[in-house]
């Protein structure tokens, strides 16, 4: 039978907050039902238990810091752990609720025994610094059950493991609540009792789910699992035969690496969104140039063009001795370019243009205009970095507003003739930037139409010009 090890990370999010250094007790709370899912030691000494309601927890502890549970973060952390473990063990599988399952049997010959294997695994885990519980089992479910209940023992003793499994109460297992409730109501409280019932008798009375569970727990039924595949990486280095002082001469060697990248990507039908070019400088720190493509790219020629733009801004501190290329954010290529007859193929797309501009000018140099539905003219529109836009709020199009707004209101210095108004704008109390103004449309002596306002001190200003 296959031996498995199960790792249960019971406070993954908490551990990744580095909160042990914090002075305040911290708890992680599931947003849906406000239950505590993780609690730091400080919080636990204050009497907070896992599964408690937020209200109860909060009243136990005055200066409690509450963080919402973040499933994505945990998943990400779990992936990182799997990735590190992958160097030591080949078959890793993700389980729900922050668990990793390792297939041990096929690794034993490599490590000469279970203990040597565990030695290296646990050393790595301890270095990563996450809290975890662990256990062995002759089925994934058995290992999971024991680990989640904190057995923390590595053994391949069949009898001992089975005995440990049988000692657990039903509610400690993975059985759905209603099923363990049903079992309790016929007097079955422990796995021991459950496992002593013949399968046939169970099958007559319960859903197939229970029979499946028992079968899998004992290892009688196969438990299909999907093993972890590490993400694709592309990283190549190139030693230069002679030092380069002029960055523009880099194109040729870089192209060589980019062609390799193209091969790598195209054979996998993938594209990359970012590449990092590392330039090894003589006696100086290496220089990393990040090049991005908004729409994703695999062609060497395209990447080269973007890279050249990006590198044209780079100042070298010393001659370059070598370079390396890493591709980041690789995803499967999906054809979004429409069909043969689509008219949009002509010319570069907007995203391609933005990639080029960003490569040349820097990532944060490109801004765009955004309209806000706010009565205050200063807040009605703003310039934001590309990519930071929020969806436009509906704004009444019938508003009469000048074509040209002055960056700041200027004091009105000439006599004007009021044509229309007032439009009183007094709002903005919520963000501490309130205004009280009466706006008018007026004509100045030269015949220009101005947008002017008067403030509560009766001071007049020009704020815009109608075209």
């Amino acid at each position: 039978m296959t031996l498995w090890v199960y790792l249960h990370f019971n406070s993954l999010q908490l551990d990744s907050l580095f909160c042990e250094q914090a002075h305040q007790p911290i708890i992680i709370v599931e947003g849906k039902d406000n239950r505590v899912v993780q609690a730091c030691t400080k919080a636990q000494t204050a009497g907070i238990t896992i599964g408690q309601g937020l209200g109860a927890a909060a009243s136990l502890c005055q200066n409690l810091q509450v963080q919402p549970y973040n499933k994505e973060l945990e998943q990400e952390k779990l992936k990182e752990i799997a990735h590190s473990l992958y160097t030591l063990t080949s078959d890793i599988c993700f389980f729900a609720d922050a668990g990793l399952l390792l297939r041990v049997s096929n690794m034993l010959s490599l490590y000469q025994g279970l203990h040597a294997y565990w030695q290296s695994i646990s050393t790595l885990l301890n270095r990563l610094g996450f809290n975890y519980c662990y256990a062995c089992g002759y089925s994934p479910l058995a290992a999971r059950l024991l680990a989640r209940n904190g057995m923390n023992k590595i053994t391949d003793d069949h009898v001992l493991l089975l005995r440990a499994v049988r000692a657990h109460a039903l509610h400690e297992s993975d059985l759905p609540h209603n099923m363990s409730e049903q079992l309790t109501r016929v007097g079955v409280h422990t796995l021991d009792a459950l496992l002593s019932i013949p399968m046939v008798q169970l099958a007559k009375r319960f859903d197939a789910e229970l029979v499946h569970y028992v079968g899998r727990l004992l290892g009688h039924f196969k438990h299909p699992v999907n093993f972890y595949q590490p993400p694709e990486r592309f990283s190549r280095e190139l030693e230069l035969l002679f030092e380069l002082e002029n960055i523009s001469w880099l194109s040729k060697p870089l192209n060589k690496l980019l062609l390799q990248l193209e091969d790598f990507l195209s054979s996998r039908n993938k594209i990359a969104y970012q590449i990092n070019i590392t330039l090894q400088q003589r006696d100086c720190e290496a220089l990393v140039v990040t090049v991005q493509s908004k729409e994703g790219e695999y062609k060497a020629t395209k990447w080269l063009a973007l890279s050249e733009l990006a590198m044209s801004n780079v100042q070298l501190d010393a001659p370059i001795q070598g370079l390396s290329l890493q591709a980041k954010r690789i995803t499967a290529y999906e054809n979004t370019h429409g069909d043969l007859f689509s008219k949009q193929q002509k010319g570069g797309s907007r995203t391609a243009l933005l990639s080029i501009l960003q490569a040349k000018l820097g990532e944060h140099a490109i801004h765009t205009m955004q309209v806000h539905a706010d009565h205050r003219p200063e807040k009605a529109n703003s310039s934001v970095t590309l990519g930071a836009e929020t969806p436009d709020l509906i704004r009444d199009a019938s508003f009469i507003r000048p074509t040209i707004m002055l960056p700041f209101p200027e004091i009105l210095s000439e006599k004007v003739i009021i044509q229309q108004g007032p439009e009183r704008i007094s709002t903005g109390w919520w963000d501490a930037q309130p205004i009280i103004r009466d706006y008018f449309i007026a004509r100045d002596p030269s015949g220009r139409w101005l947008w002017v306002f008067r403030d509560p001190t009766q001071q007049w200003f020009v704020h815009g010009v109608f075209h």
Binding site: A169, Q201, R205, H375, R395, S398, E423, R424, T427, W430
Partner: protein, 1020 residues
């Protein structure tokens, strides 16, 4: 320049208007407006408040009733020039409301067309459809139609004005200025923004340009308005307002006339009914003084024209009597001889004649107050009777205005300011509103809200401002309005959330202000229990009791003895632990003592510090003195200490010279004093009035502070008197017919303070045997069985959780004479696995199975019910082979847990007995032995936590009730102790308490020192 505001919305246009109706009329008066029209959207819910304010403060502004109506892009303000127009508007609103579910409306074009008397202000929308609407409106409403022009200093004002003027010219429609007012003052702009954001379910910052861009939708000065509008338009508003003559005071309530036979007038019919009742109630002849009272009462009823009111209630209670539904009237008017004769109440006037001087009081100007309680399980029959008799057009429930309270305010304002929802929940859960030492603002700062931060400041201010704002209308618990004609001509009627119920748009205060009467049809669990006990007694013993019979017996010393020992589990009104701890001190020995007992253990008297003076005087430890004869008259029956609400009111009249009307205002201010703080305005008047009449300043101050303490919690003697009757009757039943009494209580659950489990334990302590649920013995209800050793209670199938009543009843009706012999036989009747499991779990199959687990195990076998396998042999075989069940009968703890799970009580051993027998508990003292301990000695008690209360009257104290196998223990936990041991304090289901015992006569408390949570002992 003069102006009348014809379009103003109050905060009864929910989440639009940002000012109370009272604020609006006051401000309009201050600004010297000629008139103000309150025009909430499809509603007149706020108008009575405005009307009351106008009268109360003697405002010069004229109140006009109207409503804003929207149909597609058509916006109209309809205002009422006269009563006919008002009835018409109410009908339109009712129709629009009834087409839609609660809180919404759907106007039809026909509704608009059918307005024949109301004045219409049309608000053009600056769209192309305006031309169409102009000609359409003119076709139906010429001469009553104006264009309502508003100016809010917006971007498009110029275009809008031009548009309106061109419409006016083109269709020759006159223009009137109007304000579209949403706030009484510009300072409410922030709140209006918040309300708007709440309405859209988002935050103020994200609402964007649909927010008002300025504060112009407030009441503005006439000076300003005269600059914004053409003079002719402003003048028009005044002209229109002048033509509106309708006043809410002209509303008269017409009673249904079908109650009176042709040959009678209402009054003569009432007299005849009272005459008949006299014979029934006083079979041995009516005493002379009672005859005198009856004459006085009838004269007063005639003078105030209340005969119909009494007839209406009489009709309802006669229906209940016919149906055998037990009822009891209460309230000031209920405790009259007339009501006794009409059988509205059973309070025997001979016993408590002292009460009758406070019948309907003419000088106090109160409407007669009669609430009738009915059996809670059968009240619906009475309600359906009313609907059937008067029709849905003529009967509806009064509304209750649901307002912003602290929690809802924090939640909604917080969301509108963009504060995180988790944070808000955290605030709400951790603010103790009862903590009087710290106002909520201080507490919220302690919880981490930065008080000086901009947002923190806003949050605190806005939450304070929004509290008390109406949020929506809901239905009153049982206040019916019944009228002669269709109700919708009096007040709009809308749908309630319960289907088939309709509510009017006014609440009980509004009705009271307009002197409209409502009939309160309330539900009371104890009446159900008493009726069931009476029925069972008649069935088994052949004696037919009635409430009036029991009250007519002499006061029973045995029964009062029981009450003095605080043995009152299940007794009406005096079963709470606060009442129980007062009983041995107050030692009630007669009916009137009970009346006081019920009223005195209330927040009012406790906060007003009236309990201890009363106790002292009663025990003769304090001298009873009165500052004057007049005061003595009022207070002598409660030994000089004001205990009842009526006494306080009367005191204000005789000692401080309040007029009837003023006293009534005082009564209302008391009822609302926490909300409005209005009470303070009476302070000077009261104290000056008392000093003028020769009372000392100190005495006057003391009376006023008592009034404040009383506040909204003062309990009226007239209600207490009726409750005392039920309290006495239930105590009497408990004493003389315990088995019947407990059985009736169990059959009337849910009601009262105690669970089935607690009642059963109390019953066993009173030597009533209880037999378990059994499919072969139990009925659906619990029943009383006769045995050689007296009466026992057999629990009924209704106790089993999850069991459908219909199936349970089938099990009983289909039961063979010899009972069910096999699981198979039972299954043929039940036909449902789930039900079988419920029965098995409750151990109801114990006569023919080997315990609940084997029964369940057998039942769960699906094959046994497949036709092919359904041979009796197989089933029998399986049940005989009880070893098939995975484990033998589990230990007793499991049994007890299983009992609680399936029936909510266990006749098995008490959890504390089980733990003690299992040796899991260290030395402790049981409830029944506490009596033998010395006052102030150390003690350890253990029990199941059955109650936890932090009453507002006892600061910083929590009362725990622990139950062990011999009784209940009262534990007092000080806040310091609680804070230090929060874990046990908050979570324990089984608690060990080490502490000091406190004994005062028969009242025993354990003052907790250390709390230990023992809940884990019972988990398996």
């Amino acid at each position: 320049m003069r102006y009348a505001e014809l379009f103003c919305q109050s905060n009864f246009s929910f989440l639009q208007g940002a000012s109370h109706p009272e604020e609006l009329v006051k401000q309009a008066d201050f600004l010297k407006y000629d008139a103000l029209a309150i025009c909430d959207e499809c509603s007149v819910a706020g108008v009575v408040r405005a009307h009351t304010a106008v009268k109360k403060y003697g405002l010069g502004v004229k109140l006009i009733i109207g409503s804003l109506l929207r149909y597609q892009d058509l916006e109209l303000v309809v205002i009422c020039p006269n009563r006919t127009a008002y009835a018409e508007l109410c009908r339109v609103i009712s129709n629009a409301r009834k087409r839609s579910k609660k809180g919404q409306y759907e106007l039809a074009l026909w509704d608009v067309m059918s307005i024949k008397h109301g004045f219409i202000l049309w608000l053009p929308s600056l769209s192309e459809r305006d031309n169409y609407w102009a000609s359409w409106l003119q076709q139906y409403h010429a001469n009553r139609l104006w264009i309502g022009v508003q100016r809010h200093l917006q971007n498009n004002d110029a275009a809008y004005l031009a548009h309106c003027e061109s419409l006016s010219a083109q269709f020759s429609l006159p223009i009137s200025a109007c304000g579209g007012v949403l706030m009484h003052s510009a300072t409410r702009q922030r709140l209006q923004h918040v309300l708007h954001a709440i309405r859209l379910g988002t935050s103020v910052e994200k609402v964007g340009s649909t927010l008002l861009c300025n504060a112009e939708r407030s009441l503005r000065s006439i000076n300003k308005l005269s600059k914004l509008f053409k003079k002719a338009w402003v003048d028009n508003s005044v002209v229109i307002a002048k033509r509106c003559e309708f006043n809410l005071d002209s509303l008269r309530y017409e009673y249904p006339s079908e109650l009176v036979p042709r040959s009678h007038t209402a009054m003569s019919y009432l007299r005849a009914l009272v005459e008949q009742g006299k014979q029934r109630r006083f079979p041995n002849g009516v005493p002379d003084h009672i005859i005198g009272i009856i004459h006085k009462e009838l004269a007063l009823i005639e003078e105030l024209d209340y005969a119909y009111f009494f007839l209406t209630i009489h009709d309802v209670v006669m229906f209940a009597k016919q149906q055998g539904i037990l009822y009891q009237g209460r309230g000031s008017a209920a405790n009259s001889v007339v009501c006794y004769c009409l059988e509205i109440t059973s309070v025997d006037p001979q016993q408590i004649s002292v009460l009758f001087e406070r019948f309907i009081s003419k000088e106090r100007n109160e409407p007669p107050d009669i609430d009738v309680d009915f059996e809670h399980q059968r009240r619906e029959e009475v309600i359906q009777y009313i609907y059937k008799k008067y029709g849905r057009e003529r009967a509806a429930l009064a509304a209750t205005v649901v307002s912003y309270r602290f929690k809802s305010a924090v939640r909604d304002v917080g969301k509108a300011l963009g504060i995180d929802a988790t944070q808000l929940e955290y605030f709400i859960k951790n603010i103790n509103r009862r903590d009087k030492s710290q106002h909520w603002q201080a507490q919220i700062v302690e919880l981490g809200l930065a008080p000086h931060s901009f947002l923190g400041q806003l949050f605190i201010e806005l939450v304070d401002e929004i509290m008390g704002f109406p949020r929506h209308l809901s239905q009153h618990v049982g206040g019916f309005v019944i009228s002669a004609g269709p109700l919708y001509e009096l007040v709009p009627v809308e749908n309630a959330s319960m289907t088939e119920r309709s509510v009017i748009q006014w609440d009980k205060d509004d009705l009271e202000s307009l002197a409209l009467l409502k009939v309160d049809i309330l539900a009371l669990g104890m009446l159900t229990a008493i009726r069931k006990a009476f029925q069972k007694i008649e069935l088994h013993l052949g004696h037919r009791w009635q409430i009036a019979d029991i009250t007519r017996l002499q006061e029973d010393a045995q029964v009062y003895g029981m009450l003095q020992n605080a043995d009152t589990v299940g007794v009406f009104q005096i079963e709470s632990r606060a009442q129980m701890s007062m009983l041995p001190r107050l030692k009630p020995a007669c009916y009137y003592d009970l009346v006081i007992q019920i009223a005195i253990v209330r927040p009012g008297p406790i906060q007003g510090d009236m309990v201890h003076p009363f106790l002292k005087r009663r025990n003769g430890e304090e001298e009873i003195s009165y500052p004057s004869e007049a005061v003595k008259d009022v207070l002598s029956r409660t030994m000089g200490v004001p205990i009842f609400q009526e006494q306080v009111i009367k005191l204000a009249m005789v000692a401080a010279g309040f007029s009837g009307g003023e006293a009534d205002q005082l009564r209302r201010a008391m009822a609302a004093w926490k909300k409005s703080g209005e009470l303070m305005q009476f302070k000077n008047k009261l104290i000056n009035g008392m000093q003028e009449r020769g009372y000392t300043q100190a005495y006057a101050e003391q009376i006023f502070s008592q009034i404040c303490g009383f506040g909204e919690y003062g309990f009226p003697e007239s209600h207490s008197a009726s409750f005392a009757v039920l309290a006495y009757v239930s105590a009497w039943l408990k004493y003389y017919y315990p088995a019947f009494f407990y059985c009736a209580l169990l059959n009337s659950l849910p009601m009262g303070f105690y669970s089935a489990s607690q009642l059963c334990q109390d019953a066993e302590r009173h030597n009533v045997t209880i037999w378990p649920v059994c499919v072969n013995q139990s009925d659906y209800d619990h029943k009383v069985c006769e045995t050689d050793n007296g009466f026992v209670i057999r629990l009924g199938l209704r106790l089993i959780k999850g069991l459908k009543a219909s199936i349970a009843k089938t099990v009983v009706t289909e039961r063979p004479e010899q009972g069910y012999k096999t699981v198979e036989a039972l299954f043929e009747v039940v036909c449902e696995h789930r039900t079988m499991s419920h029965l098995a779990s409750a151990n109801a199959l114990h006569t023919f199975t080997n315990g609940r687990y084997s029964a369940r195990w057998a039942i769960m076998d699906r094959e046994s019910t497949l036709p092919l396998f359904r041979t009796p042999e197989l089933v029998v075989e399986q049940i005989q082979k009880k070893n098939v069940a995975p484990v033998g009968e589990a230990e007793e703890i499991a049994t007890t847990i299983e009992d609680y799970k399936s029936t909510g009580l266990s006749l098995n051993k008490h959890p504390i007995t089980l733990l003690d027998e299992a040796g899991k508990l260290a030395h402790f003292t049981r409830a029944q032995h506490l009596m033998n301990l010395q006052h102030k000695s150390w003690v350890t008690v253990v029990g199941v936590v059955t109650g936890k209360q932090s009453p507002g009257t006892a600061k910083g104290v929590t009362f725990f009730t622990l139950e062990d196998d011999t009784g209940n223990i009262n534990v007092v936990v000080w806040s310091g102790t609680a804070r230090a041991q929060k874990q046990a304090y908050l979570n324990a289901k089984i608690l060990e308490v080490k502490g000091i015992i406190e004994k005062e006569e028969k009242v025993i408390h354990v003052i907790a020192g250390r709390l230990t949570n023992l809940s884990d002992l019972l988990t398996m």
